[in-house]
């Protein structure tokens, strides 16, 4: 296992994914961060936490935009067409959902990577927070 030299260490940067407690209305999304990955760089996701704090419309049975996405979700999307997430954390109920840090997700294709949090219910408003990090290894 190679040792970390100062040169290797200086090529590793941590990009913050930080959204403090925010009211996210039904069906809406918020872009938390975006990064342009260049050829030769590597993007690594290990830590992403979605804290679903409160349902702001209690007593309402959720109508999902897409049930497989849960009540809310935060994902890393590549490109401008937000069709499928490269990595996804979904919250099904109040509490903290977390990306499995031991199943590291690495992105090497050059392009624009977006971290987006979505309220996937058509009729429920949510209060949530997102905390995570994307590590970028430059050439």
């Amino acid at each position: 296992m190679p040792l970390v030299t100062p040169a290797i260490f200086s090529r590793s940067l941590a990009l913050p994914i930080a959204l403090a407690q925010t009211e996210l209305r039904r069906g809406k999304q918020i872009q938390i961060m975006q990064f342009d990955l260049k050829a030769g760089q590597l993007l690594e996701l290990r830590a992403l936490n979605l804290h679903l704090l409160k349902v702001l419309t209690p007593g309402v049975v959720p109508v999902y935009v897409n049930r497989s996405l849960g009540l809310a979700s935060v994902g890393v999307y590549e490109g401008t067409m937000l069709t499928g997430a490269g990595a996804l954390v979904k919250g099904l109920q109040v509490g903290v959902s977390q990306f499995n840090p031991w199943q590291v997700r690495r992105f090497i294709s050059p392009g624009t990577y977006t971290v987006l949090v979505s309220n996937n219910a058509q009729n429920i408003d949510l209060s949530l927070a997102v905390t995570g990090t994307l590590k970028v290894y430059t050439a």
């Binding site: 941590a14 403090a20 407690q21």
Partner: protein, 159 residues
């Protein structure tokens, strides 16, 4: 003292505790960030800055009777485990950083390592309440503009 390998480096993740300048109303609070850890992860907490930018009243007029929790500052950031709801200044918190004047304060404690599994949340709070014993009229809100900058290090294993 061991050497740092590339494998070890990928298991070290720096996570943000970050809030841009935000107005927090009297008696209100916000969760800044939450991190869940399980065995054998651990959190190394060293760095946090809290800034009070502005107050909706003259800060010199605020007195102890305006505090909800008397042992805390006019505003504070509390670190709690398994927080779900309720006043973050209540007993049982892990750590708190207080501020009671315009300016910036920083965490000065030595690094704290948390390894107990759970959800660790940083919550910022405005510790103000109206009081008939204060020079500030009870009809006047005491709101603060606050920001937080900090970082916690997550180690996925404890080797």
């Amino acid at each position: 003292m061991g050497y740092l390998t590339t494998s070890k480096l990928t298991n070290i993740i720096d996570l943000p505790i970050q809030l841009p300048a935000t107005e927090i109303k009297m008696g209100d609070w916000l969760v800044i960030g939450s991190i869940k850890i399980a065995e054998p992860m651990r959190l190394r907490y060293r760095f946090l800055n809290l800034q009070l930018h502005t107050s909706s009243v003259d800060i010199a007029d605020i007195s102890a009777v305006n505090k909800i929790s008397g042992n805390l500052g006019y505003a504070y950031v509390a670190l709690r485990r398994d927080y779900s709801a309720g006043n973050p200044g209540a007993a049982g918190g892990l750590e708190v950083l207080n501020i009671s004047e315009i300016g910036l304060v920083e965490r000065t404690n030595v690094e704290t390592i948390f390894s107990t599994p759970g959800r660790y949340s940083w919550i910022i709070a405005n510790n103000m309440q109206p009081s008939a014993d204060s020079v500030i009229p009870t009809s006047t809100d005491i709101n603060f503009r606050l920001s937080v900058t900090g970082q916690v290090r997550l180690e996925l294993d404890n080797s």
